[in-house]
């Protein structure tokens, strides 16, 4: 066991400064090529946008308390939900886990000193900022009212709002995703430490690899479809203009060719995070590791072939509907397998209920609900009845927000001690995790119900029979808002007052835990070596108490 423990010679420890102390000027942050600092820059920016998008939807939920509205015009309402969608999808969810935790942890996990192209990594953050500034301009110039989906001919002809700047913002931020994807794939291929074979990669690294592939192959199609909308709106080039024989439905094909895989861009990283967390807090290896990897790959590839299930009522042919319906049922199989495997990971574990685990359990519950309601929407007749209703709204929020944000929070708490070197307040975090789960369900279960009863989405005024459900949902949203604000408080507090964390407070396996917290600039004091499969929790002591008495590192050896 002693050979698996890192023992730093005192001289070396004094040499290693943390990445946080590599420079304290603003410029040292803005011009950094250190993947860890870029991760922090990303974390700050997406948090800002998360709360902007959150305010937008807060206003919407407040307005919906009354069936006839009470403080917004319909135009303002439409702009509020559109900006919520655009910001949350492209400026929060898509970059959320990859650009923050992926950037911070992925190179360390595979034993690399940095990502493959550090300057490209910084460029990707600047592209994000440029795209974001367009979106801020849209906000200040009165907003955009097309819905986040930009469907023509409404977006190209009939909307009287800032469609073009909004589309350019999304276009630019798309290239930020592509840059991140290219970088991560090259990193995983070429910078793995000696002994880190493909089937020794932690599942989070696998999920980053697959999600990068999806980003690289899907995002350009979104970019092109938005370019075509801009060309039509600015120069009148009639690509989707039905009056000369163009087809608005073609835009939907191109848009969903990106935007369905985009759902996987959001959820695959979440799956990676909770795999790490379940293994660590159940003190078990992940059940069916190889199957988990194959499931990720299958979802990544087959996810590209199911986009048409967004178009069952769009004027797509009945045959295409059946093909896409079939493929959608197929892609549900690997998702189901992942749920079973996470459940089985708990079997015979030593389960602890620290905040990351609570968030991960929340993910599991919400992902199961979201996934199963996905089956409803994959079957053509039910989708025809439920599409464009609150049922769909609730379904994709359960996956993309319930699932991804829970996993995002799980990851933030799990790696917080590594990133900052501090411990957060455990009880406050547990409370926030529970509040988030309850608040989320209170918000969206009413939406499932009213959606199936017939409440269409994107409605400013609505039939008063649905008011009770809307009020419940708005109440849940208020609770959710509190649960989202809580971490800002206790995590911020921990930055200055939290206990020192130590290198491996969870007794976790994985190379990122075998280096000081916070890590030094090049991540490791000595080149790491990997000697065994991931998640060897059963080899390194079963009880948490044991771990705490004698901190034992997982696999490998960083000497």
């Amino acid at each position: 066991m002693s050979e698996m423990t890192l023992q730093y010679a005192p001289t070396e420890e004094s040499v290693a400064t943390s990445y946080l102390d590599e420079g304290h000027t603003v410029l040292s942050w803005l011009l950094t090529t250190d993947h860890k600092r870029i991760a922090i820059l990303y974390a700050l920016s997406i948090t800002a946008f998360f709360f902007i998008g959150g305010v937008a939807i807060g206003l919407v939920r407040l307005e919906l308390i009354s069936p006839t509205g009470w403080f917004m015009t319909s135009d303002e309402y439409n702009r509020a939900f559109t900006i919520h969608g655009i910001i949350m999808v492209w400026f929060f969810l898509v970059p959320s886990i990859p650009a923050t935790m992926g950037n911070f942890v992925l190179p360390m996990m595979i034993g690399a000193p940095d990502v493959a192209f550090p300057r490209l990594n910084l460029l990707s953050w600047y592209l994000y900022l440029i795209g974001a500034s367009f979106t801020v301009y849209v906000l200040l110039s009165g907003g955009v009212d097309t819905g986040w989906t930009f469907y023509p001919p409404f977006s190209s002809t009939y909307s009287h709002s800032s469609v073009v700047p909004a589309a350019i913002g999304v276009f630019v931020v798309g290239f930020s995703s592509i840059a991140t994807g290219v970088n991560f794939m090259a990193t995983v291929h070429l910078l793995r430490a000696p002994g880190m074979t493909w089937f020794r990669l932690p599942l989070f690294a696998w999920s980053m690899y697959v999600v990068s592939m999806v980003m690289v192959l899907a995002t350009p199609v979104l970019a092109m479809s938005l370019l075509l909308i801009c060309a039509e709106r600015l120069f009148g080039l009639p690509i989707f203009d039905a009056s000369v024989g163009g087809d608005p439905v073609l835009f939907q094909h191109l848009f969903w060719f990106y935007s369905h895989p985009a759902v996987y861009i959001m959820i695959l990283p979440a799956m990676g995070v909770v795999s790490e967390v379940f293994a660590c807090f159940a003190r078990r290896r992940v059940f069916g590791y190889a199957f988990m990897v194959y499931a990720l790959l299958t979802i990544g590839v087959v996810g590209f072939m199911v986009w048409g299930h967004h178009m069952f009522v769009a004027g797509q042919s009945p045959l295409a509907n059946l093909i896409f319906s079939f493929l959608s049922f197929i892609v549900a199989v690997p998702s189901a397998i992942k749920v079973f495997n996470w459940t089985a990971t708990l079997y015979r574990g030593q389960i602890g209920f620290e905040a990351p685990m609570l968030y991960a359990l929340g993910f599991l519950g919400l992902f199961t609900i979201g996934g199963l309601t996905g089956l409803f929407l994959a079957s053509v007749p039910i989708d025809i009845a439920a599409t464009d209703s609150y049922f769909v709204v609730a379904h994709f929020h359960t996956i993309m927000v319930g699932g991804t944000v829970s996993a995002f929070m799980a990851g933030i708490h799990y790696w917080w001690p590594k990133v900052t070197g501090r411990r957060y307040h455990e009880f406050a975090a547990q409370l926030a995790a529970i509040a988030m789960f309850l608040g989320f369900n209170l918000t969206f279960i009413p939406q499932f119900i009213m959606g199936w009863l017939g409440m269409p989405r994107r409605y400013h005024f609505y039939p008063d029979v649905f008011q009770i459900w809307h009020v419940l949902s708005s109440g849940g949203a208020a609770m959710l808002a509190v649960a989202y604000l809580m971490p800002l408080g206790y995590l911020g507090w921990s930055l200055f007052n939290g206990d020192r964390a130590g290198d491996n407070p969870w007794g976790a396996t994985g190379l990122e835990w075998q280096t000081p917290s916070p890590p030094p600039k090049r991540n490791f004091l000595r080149p790491p070596q990997v000697t065994s499969a991931p998640y060897q929790y059963h080899d390194i002591g079963r009880a948490r108490e044991e771990v705490e008495q004698a901190p034992v590192e997982g696999r490998g050896d960083a000497r």
Partner: protein, 319 residues
């Protein structure tokens, strides 16, 4: 408005969809119960420090379990697909339609024309137990005709026809609305599906004049000119609520009090600065030149109708 206008399964097809929904709910409920039950059991039994036996399970068993539930899930999903698809295929093979009704969508109203030439707006009268086929197109953006009681929905596209076929089996008044986001007043692009007996349908057909009545044309103008953006209860633009304004005494900004008659309403549209109402900023745009005289008449007729409640107010709240 009653919930049954949405939830009644008003056709055999709708009943089939409900059955499929219930089947899926039961299956999903079972899966959720299974997963949640297992998780709860594991969380309790294998809680940190509990006395439960630990230790590795044989790898061969793990693999068999894995293959087992992969296969089981695949078969279950294939069965569900088959069930849903066969429902869909049988729905596609509809018999010859007995009645073809044209639907034209525009921002933000539904114009419906019956074979007899009878026209209606935001209402769709159909006879019960008849194969009806809607032939739909849009004049502007994409709309979507949503008939909740029939569990049916279809996008309505510009310069292209899309179709909805159904055979209603229950008479009554049901909801009809737009489900594809189409701009400002998307949420009030709503109306009624009225299923009547064939006899009533022919009687109704004979009684309805060909063409719209003025108030309905006026409502369409009111929406399409953007009047509704300000003259809506709850609008943040400070503009007078038009409900009940016709025939009332109006206090003007310059101190006069006038009775709101047709001439007054007309002046308000064409010369908004002439008779500004007390307590409101001068925000009303001048519509002279933007509307034809005939359109002004329709608009006035619509505002009048808001006081007599013969036309719904366009807020989707209560007809």
């Amino acid at each position: 408005m009653k919930l049954t206008e949405f939830t009644t399964a008003a056709s055999d097809y709708a009943a089939h969809v409900d059955a499929l929904f219930i089947l899926l709910s039961v299956v999903s409920g079972a899966v959720v119960a299974l997963v949640a039950g297992l998780i709860t059991y594991f969380l309790i039994r294998y809680h940190k420090g509990s006395g439960a036996p630990r230790g590795e399970t044989p790898e061969r068993l793990d693999r068999e379990i894995e293959i087992g539930w992969t296969a089981a899930t695949s078969f279950l999903f294939l069965f569900l697909f088959w069930w849903a698809a066969s429902r869909q295929l049988s729905a596609l093979a509809t018999p010859e339609p007995a009645l073809e009704i044209h639907v034209v969508a525009k921002q933000w109203m539904w114009r419906i024309q019956h074979p007899s030439g009878a026209r209606e707006i935001d209402e769709l009268h159909v006879p019960v137990h008849t194969n009806v086929r809607l032939i739909m197109t849009s004049q502007d953006a994409i709309h979507d005709l949503y008939l909740p009681a029939l569990r049916l929905k279809q996008d309505v596209l510009p310069d292209r026809y899309t179709y909805l076929s159904f055979n209603a089996t229950k008479t009554g008044v049901f909801h009809l609305t737009c489900a594809e986001f189409c701009g400002t007043d998307h949420s009030v692009m709503a109306g009624r599906l009225v299923v009547v007996t064939p006899e009533e349908y022919s009687r109704w057909n004979a009684a309805v004049p060909e063409g719209d009545d003025l108030a309905h044309q006026g409502k369409a103008l009111f929406l399409s000119l953007g009047c509704s953006g300000c003259h809506t209860p709850g609008s943040t633009v400070h503009a007078p609520d038009l409900k009940g304004v016709y025939g009332s005494a109006v206090q003007l900004a310059d101190g006069r009090t006038v009775t709101a008659d047709e001439a007054y309403l007309r002046d308000c549209i064409l010369l908004p600065d002439k008779n500004r109402v007390a307590g409101f900023p001068p925000l009303m745009p001048n519509f002279s030149g933007a509307v034809t005289p005939g359109q002004v008449i329709s608009l006035v007729a619509y505002v009048k109708s808001l006081s007599s409640q013969s036309v719904d107010t366009g807020q989707g709240a209560s007809p």
